[in-house]
Amino acid sequence: MSAVSEQEDTSHAEPRKGLSPRKKQRISRSVQYAVLVAVLVVLVALADWKAIGESFLNLDVARKGLPDLFTVALRNTVIYTLSGFALGFVLGLVLALMRLSTVAPYRWLSTIYIEIFRGLPILLIFLMIGSLPLAFPGFELPGGVYGSAALGLGVVSAAYMAENFRAGIQAVPKGQMEAARSLGMPHMRAMVSIVIPQAIRIVLPPLTNQLVMLLKDSSLVLILGVTAAQVELAKFGNDQSSTYANPTPILATGLTYLLITIPLGYVARRLEARQGAGR
C-alpha cells in the first residue's frame, strides 16, 4: 500500500518541477521560427534587389543565349557525357570480369587500374590527354575534342563502374551460373547470357548516379580547349557572362544542369526503391 502511494506522490510532484516535454518542444519550435523570420527580414532589408535582379535574372541577357544554350551547349554536354558513359560501361564491364577472373595477373591489372583511376582527379586526366601530342608528336586522338572527352570521362568512370559491376555480378545467386553450366553453356556464354543481364539490373541505380556524376564532370572538358561549336554548358555560361558582363548566363546554365540531374536522381531513387520492394 505505502509503496503505491509513494509512487503516486512522485508522479504528481514531477510536472510541477518544470515545463512538460510538450511545452518545451513548443517553445523551442517558436524560437526557431522567430530566428528564421528575423534572418529573412534582415536579408530582405539589406539586399540590393535591383542589382541582384539585373545581375542574375537579367532576361535580356538570358534571351541572347538562346537557342544556343540548348542546341549547342546542352547538346555537347549530353554528347560528352553519353560517349564517356558508353566507353566507361564497356571498359568497366571488362575490368569487372578481369577482377573476378581465375587468372591472377588479370585480377592484379584490374585492381591497379581501378585504384589509379579512382584516385586521380578528372581534371588531371584531361591535362594528360591534352599533353599526349607533346609526348608523341603528330599523334592525334580520333574524334578530336569529342574523342578526347569520351576517353577522359570513359577511363575514369570505367574504374567506378567496374566496382559496381563486380558487386552486381557477385550479387547474382551462384545457382544461376550452375543452372546455365548444367545446360551445357560454357562459362563465358553463361556469364553473358545469364549472369551479366541480371547484374546490370542490380546495378542500375548506382549506374544512374554515375551518369549524374559524369554529366557534372563533363564541364571539365573545357580544359581541352574547345571551339564555339564544341562548347559545353559550363564554358558556354562562362563565355556568355563575360561577353555581356553579366552573371545571368551562369545561373541559366546551372538551371539547365538541374533540369537533367534532378530527374535522373529521382529515377535512381525510384529504381532503388523498386529493387528494395522486390527483394
Partner: protein, 246 residues
Amino acid sequence: MSTVEIRNLHKSFGKLEVLKGIDFTVESGQVVCVIGPSGSGKSTLLRCVNLLEQPTSGTVVVDGVDLTDPDADIDAARRHIGMVFQQFNLFPHLTVRRNVTIAQERVLKRSKGECDRVARENLEKVGLIDKIDAYPPQLSGGQQQRVAIARALAMNPSLMLFDEPTSALDPELVGDVLSVMRKLAEDGMTMLVVTHEMGFAREVADRVVFMDGGVIVEDGPPEQVIADPQHERTREFLSRVLHPGV
C-alpha cells in the same frame, strides 16, 4: 551399357572429406534414389556426376565418356545430363519460354522454330503451357520446379539428375512435381534422384541407395532398403524419417 559409372570417388572441401570412396552405377532406364541424413554427401555425389563439383579423385563415366579425364569436353557432356536443383534456379529475368529455349538455341544451335516447338512440347508435358509467357517470379514454387524440369528435358538428356527437387516446396505443391517425375520415370528416363520423399522412392525407384558419412551403406531394390534394411544405420535413419517424433 551403364549410363553412369562411378569408381572410387573421393571429394574433399579443404580438410573436410565429404565423399570417402563411392562406387556405383546407374543402368540405362533405371531410376535410382539416393537417401540419407543431411551432410551425408548425397548432394555432393550428385553434383560430381555433371562435374559441378570437381572430384578430388576417382572416375565418373557418363555415357561412356570419362568426365574426370582432363581432356574431356565437360560442356558437351553436360548437354546430355539434365539437372534439377532444390532452389529451381530458373532465370528470373527471362520468360518461361526463353528459359526453356535459350540453351537449345545457344548451345544446341537449333532453329528458332525448332526451339519453340520443343519448348511447347515439354511445357505441355509438365502441364504449364499456359504459363509460357510468364516470368518465373510470377509462378508458385511447384510451377517453377516443373518449368525447371521442362528446361532440362528440352535438351533431350539421356540422364536426369534431381537434387532434392521438392525440399524447398510447400507441402501441398510437392505432389505436382512428384507426378511429373513419376511420368518421366514411366517413359523410361534414366534418373538419379536425391530425395527425402520415401513414398516416391518406394514406388518409383528401381534401386535405393542409402548414404551416411560419405559412404554408401546400403544399395538395393526399395523393398529391401526401405522395407527390410540390413544395416543398423539405415534402420535408424528410416525410423526417424518414417515416424518422426516417435
